[in-house]
């Protein structure tokens, strides 16, 4: 049982960490709670489902692709948005292009028109798809009303609802419970537990991505710019950092992370239009527990809450119902003693 708990905690915690770090990045830079964050996780999972059903699986290329895509994701986003030094007129055109792409990819996925995409392309596309939507949605909707904080909150929520209903309305997805096929089948016996390759793959990929994100944030000029913007937007702007571009990059990066999480867990989950809700709540709890804007905090918090969930499920008779309640109670308990979270950065009061 203990081995089972450990394995489940590692896998679950890794996925939560990916989601929470993305959310945390967005909060740090844009100071907004992006309630649509896990909607991209859901979209990526559905995209993977659609693609992989259209094609016979190739396990080896699946692993390679998942790893390569995962480690290249941050680099890809970086070059995508940074190399396009966009003046304002171009950004309008870009938004239009994004809108067209969105519709094109969307219908392509949904109607099964891209019947001859390989799994390689499918995973890349699903991640890019989610990235483009956030970039576009952010540019089109959020940028215009940034001063009204609660309104921003609400618009992101409404966006999440739109995605959920979009999935619900597509006849092929509808109200069905779906399952995406695993990338790899088979299992190893590790210290007496049957660990499926899917779980190992998930965990390794998560670790690689997290290392990639860490390297990006601490070793590159872009990472420094992102952290500077998160620390003080105005001063970063005065230092010649294009804040709105940083925002776009961070949105792309964060939803890329969410998309990776979605793609990785899709084979182990039941896909349904409301699947974004449970990880969304856990993600919120993790971020508060770890401290808003702290990457390390999100990472630690993810594993703490994943452990709580798994323990409750294993040890209590009605655990499946109580796992969320216990995890949230842990969060509330920690906050009573440390109001800024475990590794919280105390944000200065925003200047007026």
């Amino acid at each position: 049982m203990i081995e089972g708990i450990i394995v489940n905690t590692l896998v679950k915690g890794g996925v939560y960490a990916l989601l929470a770090i993305g959310f945390s990045l967005i909060f740090g830079v844009a100071r907004m709670l992006n309630l649509a964050h896990t909607a991209f996780y859901m979209l990526a999972a559905y995209a993977l489902y659609t693609c992989s059903l259209l094609l016979g699986l190739n396990p080896v290329s699946a692993i390679v692709v998942a790893l390569v895509v995962a480690s290249l994701m941050s680099v890809g986003t970086y070059s995508l948005f940074v190399l396009l030094r966009v003046p304002s007129i171009v950004s309008i055109i870009l938004s239009a292009v994004i809108a067209v792409l969105l519709v094109w990819f969307g219908t392509g996925f949904i109607l099964g028109m891209g019947a001859d995409v390989s799994l390689t392309k499918a995973i890349i596309l699903s991640a890019v798809f989610a990235m483009f939507i956030t970039g576009g949605a952010y540019k089109l909707f959020i940028d215009r009303i940034r001063e009204h904080h609660v309104t921003v909150l609400l618009v992101t929520l409404a966006l999440a609802m739109v995605f959920q209903e979009y999935i619900l309305l597509v006849p092929a997805f509808g109200g069905h419970y779906l399952g995406a096929p695993a990338f790899v089948t088979g299992y190893w016996h590790i210290i007496g537990v049957k660990v499926s390759f899917q779980h190992i793959l998930t965990f390794v990929a998560v670790l690689l991505v997290l290392v990639g994100v860490w390297a990006l944030l601490s070793k590159t000029r872009l990472g420094i710019a992102i952290r500077a913007t998160a620390q003080d937007t105005e001063v970063a702007n005065l230092m010649g950092i294009d804040v709105s571009r940083i925002l776009l990059i961070v949105m792309g990066l964060a939803s890329g992370l969410a998309a990776i999480a979605g793609v990785l867990v899709a084979p182990t989950l039941v896909l349904e239009p409301h699947m974004w809700m449970p990880p969304f709540i856990m993600m919120m709890a993790i971020i508060v527990l770890g401290g808003l804007g702290s990457i390390k905090g999100s990472f630690v918090g993810a594993f703490i809450l994943a452990l709580t969930e798994v323990l409750v499920v294993y040890l209590l008779p009605t655990g499946a119902f109580l796992k969320g309640a216990f995890a949230l109670a842990v969060m509330v308990g920690v906050l009573v003693f440390r109001p800024e979270g475990l590794f919280g950065v105390v944000f200065e009061e925003e200047r007026l």
């Binding site: 909060f27 609400l154 619900l168 709540i281 808003l292 969320g324 109001p339």
Partner: protein, 351 residues
């Protein structure tokens, strides 16, 4: 005496178009069952408006807590659900009557509000929002875990009805709604000379440190806001349980908490009339979409409407309308009708 009242009425209600519209609106609501008598779908309309009345209380109490003191609360359904479950349990298991269960349900809402404060008020901004989100979910987990006591997914059904007649239910909810909204409006009125809470709530939202520096015990007032908000949300929840005759897990749902935020922000945050308007527009809209041909598209249409409206009126539709029909005097801060060129009290030119 009577003449003075009439003069006050002219000065404070008739001269301000927003208040006049509100008065006419409430009068029309009162007469609603009369002039819809010949319409075949009247029972349906009455039912929709009855629930709309309750949700008005719910949304306004969210605005009271979160809009006025700036503590954005993501778990407002907690008060609604706690009150609904409390009154349902008292009614079903102890056989208490309506007149006892509804006030006790509301008091349970107060208790939930104060309990939520204990961890929540140590926190600020987004932390507070995310922690408040946790409370209804914790309770929901408990409800699903102990199904023989709480009924689990099905909830507690077969409660006493407020009345057999839909019209009586409608009037009960309407009267309670108007009373609650009026009390909350008075409590948040910054210009009031009777209560200080309005101006203190505004001060806490604008600058909490400055408010504390001016000698206001901000924690006490935040607890007060949560208690009063919890009370009114509790009334709405308890009445909801007794009109629908069921208290189910949906009363604690995250969706309900966010629904309150949607109504308030759509109508206009930090204004009591905003949420009223928001609920009366969005709730019936949703109900009619449910019955229509485009049943499945309702959430999509709903979300699209909310997004588009907020893009053009980021402060909410209620505030947007008020800014169109009222103009504030720059000198004496009195509201005037938009067609006046000079202030009605001090003749300062308005522009």
């Amino acid at each position: 005496m009577f003449r003075r009242l009439l003069k006050d009425f002219q000065g404070d209600v008739v001269a301000i178009p927003g208040r006049l519209i509100a008065l006419i609106f409430f009068l029309l609501l009162f007469l609603f069952p009369l002039y819809t008598q010949p319409i075949a779908i009247q029972p349906f309309l009455l039912r929709v408006l009855t629930f709309a009345n309750l949700f008005v209380i719910f949304a306004v109490s969210w605005d009271f807590i979160s809009g006025y003191t700036g503590q954005i609360n993501f778990g407002h359904a907690l008060f609604f659900g706690v009150a609904a479950y409390t009154s349902a349990l008292l009614n079903r298991d102890l056989g208490w009557q309506l007149w006892a269960t509804i006030p006790i349900g509301a008091l349970a809402g107060v208790l939930a509000g104060v309990l939520m404060c204990l961890p929540a008020l140590r926190l600020r901004g987004p932390y507070l929002s995310l922690v408040t989100l946790a409370f209804p979910l914790i309770l929901l987990g408990v409800i699903f875990a102990f199904t023989d006591f709480t009924g689990g997914e099905l909830g507690i059904s077969g409660l006493d009805r407020i009345s057999e007649s839909k019209t009586v239910c409608f009037y009960a909810s309407l009267v309670v709604m108007i009373a609650s909204v009026f009390i909350m409006w008075k409590l948040t009125d910054a210009k009031s000379s009777l209560v200080r809470t309005g101006i203190i709530f505004h001060a806490i939202r604008e600058d909490e440190i400055a408010a504390r520096a001016s000698g206001i015990n901000t924690v006490r007032y935040k607890i007060l806001a949560f208690a009063v908000g919890g009370f009114f949300a509790g009334i709405a929840g308890a009445m909801y349980a007794h009109i629908l005759r069921i208290a189910g897990p949906f009363t604690l749902d995250v969706a309900l908490s966010f629904q309150a935020i949607i109504w308030v922000v759509f109508g206009g945050i930090v204004s009591i009339y905003g949420p009223v308007l928001g609920v009366y527009i969005l709730y019936p809209l949703m109900e009619f979409l449910k019955t229509g041909e485009i049943y499945e598209w309702r959430f999509l249409i709903f979300a699209a409407i909310v997004i588009l409206m907020l893009l053009y009126m980021p402060e909410g539709i209620g505030v947007w309308i008020r800014d169109k029909i009222e103009r504030q005097c720059p000198r004496c801060k009195l509201s005037n009708v938009w067609w006046r060129r000079t202030c009605r009290a001090c003749d300062t030119p308005l522009y």
